[in-house]
Amino acid sequence: MGGNFDNAGEVSSNIKTVLKQIGLPKDVIRKAALVAYESEINIVSYARKGMIRLRVVPESIMIEAIDEGQGIPDIEQAMQPGFSTANQKIREMGFGAGMGLCNIKSFSDVFHISSEVGKGTHLRMIIRASSAVLNS
């Protein structure tokens, strides 16, 4: 799906639909959909191909974004708000302002990133479901 801007966001919409069917709280779904969407935009923008994996257990949602692509040479730099290597096409879509990874991190309860230059990037995010769900 790398480079395919037309359908960017479709996976996240599907994730949102699935989470709604499970009946999770709205704010949890929103966080998960948001995190998935920014990850998807990153894959479409920078990778050759990639996948988003969703795992739901009663306590939490785990979202992984695994891609094959250029990788990130300096993760610390990439995490800085405003740092971006985006091209014009990405910017025209309303992204590429160096907010993606920051947003993903700030909306996740647990955030882990690893990357290898020339191979790809692996993001793993956990979003906790509220205690209300735990008890139900």
């Binding site: 966001g9 919409s13 949102k16 948001l34 309303g94 302002a97 907010m99 700030s106």
Partner: protein, 120 residues
């Protein structure tokens, strides 16, 4: 305000959502940067933007945005239009610039979905 009142106030054309004009909104967010919309916009708000690509609708859908208002006379692309129909998000278009849209709505009681970054 209802979307019906907003349409009148902004002399807007309803492209999608003619059947949802009774919807009530209280808050709005203005941006052309979707990453900022994702970071700050709240559910049930209006999204006021000058962008017209499908990512505007995807972003709105992810956040449960009530309706999209395209300013500066912008109109959605064909793909954007189809996607909005699919996910059932109203799109209004108006010739007013974004500043005017925000000002007119504010004067009628619509507020920003947050006041400042870092505040709740």
């Amino acid at each position: 305000m209802t979307l019906h009142e907003i349409r009148k106030l902004l002399d807007a054309e309803v492209l999608i959502g003619e059947d949802q004009l009774d919807m009530e909104v209280k808050t709005a967010f203005v941006a052309d940067l979707m990453s900022d919309v994702l970071a700050f916009a709240t559910a049930g708000s209006l999204l006021i933007t000058g962008l017209t690509n499908p990512q505007v609708v995807r972003t709105a859908d992810v956040l449960d945005i009530a309706a999209i208002i395209m300013g500066r006379g912008k109109r959605p692309s064909q793909e954007t239009f189809q996607l909005a129909e699919e996910v059932n998000i109203p799109i209004l278009t108006t010739k007013y610039i974004l500043f005017e849209i925000a000002g007119r709505l504010y004067a009628k009681g619509i507020r920003g979905c947050i006041e400042k970054v870092g505040s709740k």
